[in-house]
Structure formats: C-alpha cells, structure tokens
C-alpha cells in the first residue's frame, strides 16, 4: 500500500481530531479503526444490548467472540472476560468510538485539574503529578473543540470554571422537570447550578439537526445525528479534503520499526483477516488507554525489549477512570418527565477547595433512564423479587431524581494494563491484562460528594434519600479510561512529552486519554479532543516531510 505521511490507529475522540487536523493541513492520512462505521440504521434501539447496558451483548463492538481480556481482581484471581462482561472496561469499537455512543457531556477540566500535585501534594501510595501543560495552554484548543464538534449549554452561572475566550456556540436545551426542581433548590443552598455543556445540538449546527429529546441517548448512536462525535464532524471533514482514507475493521498488530528504532508504519489485519502493512512517516496511536498501551507493549524491538516507549516501565501504568458516586431522592410528586437526554444541570461547587480533600468532582442529574436500568436504582432493602419488588418499581420510577458525579482519582502505579502473552485474541495478538485497584482517597471524596448530593436532594423536597457508592477499591477505567501513557517532561517518569510525542521515538505519538496525567472530576471526552487539537498543532507546525524542525 502507498506510503502516507501519517497512519492513525483508532478513530475515536483523539484519532478523529488528529486525522482532520493533519488532512486539512495537507498531510496524507490513513485512519485505521478496528470496528465498523456504525449508524443508527444498523444499530437498533435496544435497552439490553448497547454500550450502556451490555446484558445481551453490545451493538457497537467489539464482537463478544474473539476479543477477550484478562482481568485480575485485587486478591489476585484472574479471569478471562468478554467485551459484554463486567470488568472488561469496554469502549465502543466503531468509527467515533465513545463519541458515537456517549451521553455527550463536554466538560473542560478545571485549571487545578492540570496541577493536582502542586495544589494538594501527593498522597501516600499515589503517583499524583502535575500535567506538563496548563489550562491556559489548552484553552484555545478547548474553544476549537467546542466550535468544531458543536457544544450547547450555558456555563455563565459557573463561577468556578477556568476563563474562556469564546462562548459556547449553542444555547442549552430547555430544562426538564427535575432540572427545574434541582435548580431552585441549589440556589436556596447558595450553590451555583448551570446548564451542562454537551456535544449535542440544541439548534441546527454544522449541518446537523437539533436533539429530538428521545430516550435512546446515552449508550446509543443518535438517530438524527444531533449528538456530535468525531464520526459526524471532524472525520467527514477529513474525508472531504481528499487527503484522508478511513479503513474500518482494521486491527493493528504492531508498530513497525527500522533498525534504529524509528517507526516506519504499522502492521494490521484487514477486514478479511489478511495481514497488511501501512507505511507512514508518522504513527499516531489513539486506541484508548487500554488498547493504546496494549499496542505499545506488543511492539517489541531490539532497542525496546519491554515494549515501545516502555524503557522505564511506565507504559500501561496509572490506569484510571472515574468512581461514580451520588445519591437518589424519592419525591412525593412525579419528578421524571422522560425527556432526553435527561442530564442537564450541574454544580462545580465541589470540584476543588473541599476541606481535607484533594480535588472532588462535578455533580449532575443523571441521564435518562430506561426501565431496565432503573432496577439498580431501587432503595436498599427492597426485596429482590415478588410483589414488593414490582410495587417498588411502580412507586419509585417516576418519583426519583438521581444525582451522580465522577470522583477525580489519585493515580496509582499498580493499576495497570499489560499484554498477556498466554491469552490471544482471534488474530493471535496478546490481549490486554488489567490488574490493580484504586487509591483509597477516591472513597473519601466519594463519601463527601454523597453527602452533598443528599443535601441537594433533601433541599429539593426528597422525602427519602439513599446513597450511590461502591466502597470496594476496584480498578476503574471503563469508558473514561485514562492515564496509561502519561505525559511529562521527565522521560524516566512518563511516556510522552507535552506534545504527546514518545520520549523514545520522535515519530510516534499517543493521542487519547492515555496521556492524561490525572483525569479531572469530569467526563474526559472534550479534553481528549482538545489534546488532539493541541498535539496536531505541534505536528503541523514542526513536521517537515521526514523529520521535525528543530
């Protein structure tokens, strides 16, 4: 196959943005995606088979057969899991990846999220560190992401946010009933509620229609393309340039390196399982924190016997996602009006500055609930079967408000991705092995946020509340997976530099959640896209055909 300037592995939040930026700047690009190009047409609205709930499998990949992972629990027991099983930490394998199926919250991280160590100091047992880039460095790229992907919302009422140089391009959707109930309660408490920024059209934007407020939102491909992901924004733009080719069902095996250890392209299995070679001047790894780490670790070379970029054993380390915590309130009057996307109101009062805690998290009302999903929301003590269970479903379903938030976690070295040499996928490639747990501070922050969510619900009139928190220190990752190819200035304690370039090899970049030093107390998608613009800007400015301008 014809050699190109850049081959990008993974068409998600990071890879999609890089493909577009390089293509519009005249570089030839091949974008490889292991999944398919899925649309709402071939992805039926199925509450038991989707990214949010994979009880009967998953409609956006990867296939349940042939894509196992090994999961090791904190006591050392290992098991082989399928993509639809708990612990696998799946992210959609399709063009757009998580941005095709997410709920589309489009958060900027808080300025302090980039300097956690200097703000709070490193707790024992953690590898907490500052990012080598600041909020101010990334701000113009946050703007670019918000305007190119299309974000609606209104964070004018959020005094805790970092300064923004451009407003959001679209107004928020009208509030739901629970939004209005929560808004007045938060204001009475002296808090600062505002409309969640979402990569979701509230008015026509980018040639796509507005949200029709259906209940098939988070976990599903949007039927009218109102949700903005890379699959319906930047990737089509990349294709329009004529400089970019997307190859789907392309599973990358390894990065190809020459004698001196420089990348020459990638080897991948095509849709017919034939091994192919795509030569390129640049390789951009963007498979998500688990698959990107796996690919680097599976790339062995005389100079990199433990995997590419892994001379100091940092590849795959610091795997983190978010511990979700919060509370549920039961109200006398119906609170639920079944209007998508459900989530609409948030507070950033508790992201930072909480006494005795390092960081915190945003609190928001939860996404729309399909009946089956609500089973796990019933109050503790509800009988698990019989007429009492059925009564509880009827009593609580339309009378509850769920408030949840992602806890910013303290990264730990032992939470990691390895390549398991004994277990192979259907192409014979060693699979990801996930092990370790999480730092106990997540639970301390979690307890605090549960308390705040409870007070909010009580002020709103809840006659009974119950908590949402899992106090087990289980590994987190999931769709918010991050941290495994840390960005840093010191090659001994990080994998890539501040421009997402491997310390060890100058023509390999990692551009996805892997590079996050810490993961914020927010959904990370917009930040991953922003990092995509930031890294692309560097590549475009410095790349001179075969090498970088010094």
């Amino acid at each position: 196959m014809k050699k190109v300037d850049a081959v990008i592995v993974g068409a998600g939040a990071g890879g999609g943005v890089v493909a577009k930026e390089l293509a519009v700047n005249g570089l030839s690009v091949v974008l490889l995606e292991r999944g398919k190009w899925v649309t709402a047409n071939d992805c039926r609205k199925d509450d038991l088979r989707n990214q949010r709930n994979s009880t009967l499998g998953n409609n956006t990949g990867p296939d349940d057969e042939g894509n196992p992972r090994v999961v090791v629990d904190p006591s050392g027991n290992e098991r082989i899991v399928r993509p639809s099983q708990p612990g696998y930490m799946n992210n959609a394998a399709c063009v757009g990846s998580g941005t095709a199926t997410y709920g589309a919250m489009a958060w900027r991280f808080h300025p302090n999220d980039f300097r956690m160590k200097s703000t709070y100091g490193c707790p024992e047992g953690s590898t907490l560190e500052d990012w080598p880039v600041s909020y101010e460095d990334l701000e113009p790229f946050y703007c670019k992401a918000e305007w190119e992907i299309g974000v609606s919302g209104n964070d004018a009422g959020n005094p805790f946010k970092g300064p923004r140089t451009k407003p959001l391009p679209m107004p928020p959707l009208p509030p739901t009933r629970e939004h209005r109930i929560l808004e007045v309660a938060a204001k009475r408490l002296g808090l600062h509620p505002f409309d969640i920024p979402m990569a979701r059209n509230s008015v026509p934007y980018g040639g796509r229609p507005p949200c029709m407020r259906c209940r098939w939102c988070v976990g599903f491909i949007c039927e009218v393309n109102a949700k903005g992901g890379t699959q319906n924004t930047v990737i089509p733009t990349a294709l329009q340039t004529g400089n970019c080719e997307v190859r789907t069902r392309a599973m990358v095996k390894e990065i190809l390196l020459d004698d001196r250890g420089r990348a020459t392209g990638v080897a991948y299995f095509d849709a017919n399982d034939r091994l192919q070679k795509q030569e390129a001047e640049l390789v951009v790894v963007a498979g998500g924190a688990i698959e990107s780490a796996r690919l680097l670790l599976n790339t062995r070379h005389r100079l990199f016997p433990r995997g590419l970029g892994n001379r100091h054993d940092w590849v795959g380390r610091n795997l983190q996602g978010h511990t979700y915590v919060g509370a549920i309130g039961y109200f006398e009057e119906p609170t639920y009006d079944d209007l998508g996307p459900g989530a609409g109101i948030a507070l950033c009062d508790f992201n930072h500055g909480n006494p005795g805690l390092r960081g915190g998290g945003v609190l928001a009302n939860e996404f729309i609930r399909l009946p089956y999903q609500f089973l796990s929301r019933l109050p503790p003590g509800t009988p698990s079967w019989g007429i009492a269970h059925k009564d509880a479903m009827r009593r609580y379903y339309r009378h509850t408000i769920v408030i949840l938030g992602p806890v910013q976690e303290m990264p730990i070295f032992e939470a990691r991705v390895q390549a398991d040499q004994r277990v192979k996928d259907r192409w014979g490639i060693p699979v990801a092995r996930l092990s370790g747990g999480k730092h106990p501070h997540a639970i301390e922050i979690g307890e605090f946020l549960v308390g705040k969510a409870t007070v909010w619900l009580q002020e709103a009139g809840a006659i009974r509340t119950w908590e949402v928190i899992n106090r087990n220190l289980v590994l987190s990752g999931g769709q918010h997976q991050a941290g495994t190819c840390r960005m840093g200035n010191d090659p001994k304690t990080s994998v890539v530099n501040r421009y997402c370039q491997l310390h060890d090899v100058d023509n390999v970049f990692v551009v996805d959640g892997s590079v996050h030093v810490t993961n914020g107390g927010f959904n990370p998608a917009l930040t991953i896209m922003t990092i995509g613009y930031w890294a692309s800007d560097y590549i475009v400015r410095t790349w001179k055909g075969t090498r970088f301008r010094s």
Binding site: N41, D47, P209, P210, Y372, W385, G386, K390, M393
Partner: protein
C-alpha cells in the same frame, strides 16, 4: 374489561396462577414441562396484580430464546434448577398452590445448591419483563406501560428533515 384483565381477575378469584391455566408449549431450549415450571417461577418473581405479571409478559419465552443464543452456557443450570423445583413440589411446580410455590422459592433462594440458579432466574426474569419486547418478553410493552413510559412511536429512519430547526 379486556381479555387480559378478565383472565387476570379470573385467575385471582380462583387462586390459580396464570401458568397453570394452560398447557405451555415446548420452547427452543426447554421442553413443555420445563417451560411450564419456568413460567410459574417467573410469575412468582413478578406476579400479576392490577398490572400483568411475568407469565403474561412472556418472560419464559424470553429466557428460552436466550438459552438458545446468548445464554446458551446457562442451559445446564436451568435444566437442573427447574428439575429441582419440580422435585421439591412432588411432581410439577406449576401445579402446586401459589403459597407453596413461594415457600419453595424462598427455600431455593437460601440453599447453597440452588442459590445460583435462583439468582440467575431472578435477574433474567427482570430482563425479560422490563427489557425491550424484541427479545421475546415484555409483551405489548406491558411493563413500560405500567411505569408510565409509553413505547416509542414507530419512526422512519433517515426520513427526517429537521434541518429547519424544529425543537421538540
């Protein structure tokens, strides 16, 4: 009163469970008597009252279909569990009175040997009752109607022209 309400009322009046009113046909994975036992168990897990229960909703059909597909690995545990429920009923679980059925299930929920089966059947019953009808249960979206969630209207696909800015 529609037919469903009538049958429910009749069943309630005579103290019979819906499952014991009719012969249950064989399924894809389970035979007729296994299906009858399964349906009676499901109906105890989500009984009919003013709203339909698991039997009417077709939950046994949902489970049977999954046992032929995504849940095929659970077939042996179902076979054994259903046989055990029948054994504890002295013949057919579906034919003992509802009160006795509840006692048997409460015991199976506790016993080490049957606990795993019972947990599985509870969780699959919930899926079949509250999940999408396309998988064989939740007939006529009965659970969604019960919760006040009307089924989505049938929509064409790629038939929209919302670019004019309609705001629902």
């Amino acid at each position: 009163m529609n037919r469903r309400r009538f049958l429910q009322a009749a069943a309630a009046a005579t103290g019979l469970t819906a499952a014991s009113c009719a012969v249950v046909p064989r399924g894809r994975s389970l035979n007729g008597s296994e299906m009858a036992t399964l349906e009676a168990i499901c109906e105890q897990i989500i009984p009919a009252d003013q709203d339909p229960g698991a039997a009417w909703a077709g939950v046994a059909n949902y489970i049977d279909r999954q046992l032929a597909g995504f849940y095929r690995e659970y077939r042996p545990i179902y076979r054994a569990g259903l046989a055990e429920a029948d054994r504890r009923s002295g013949g057919s679980f579906a034919h003992v009175p509802a009160k006795r059925q509840k006692e048997i299930l409460r015991q199976m929920e506790k016993d080490e040997t049957t606990k795993a089966f019972f947990t599985l059947v509870v969780s699959h019953t919930m899926q079949g009752f509250y999940g999408d009808p396309r998988h064989g249960g939740n007939r006529d979206y009965c659970s969604w109607r019960m919760l006040g969630v009307p089924p989505s209207p049938v929509r064409g696909r790629n038939q929209y022209d919302l670019t004019g800015g309609s705001r629902s």
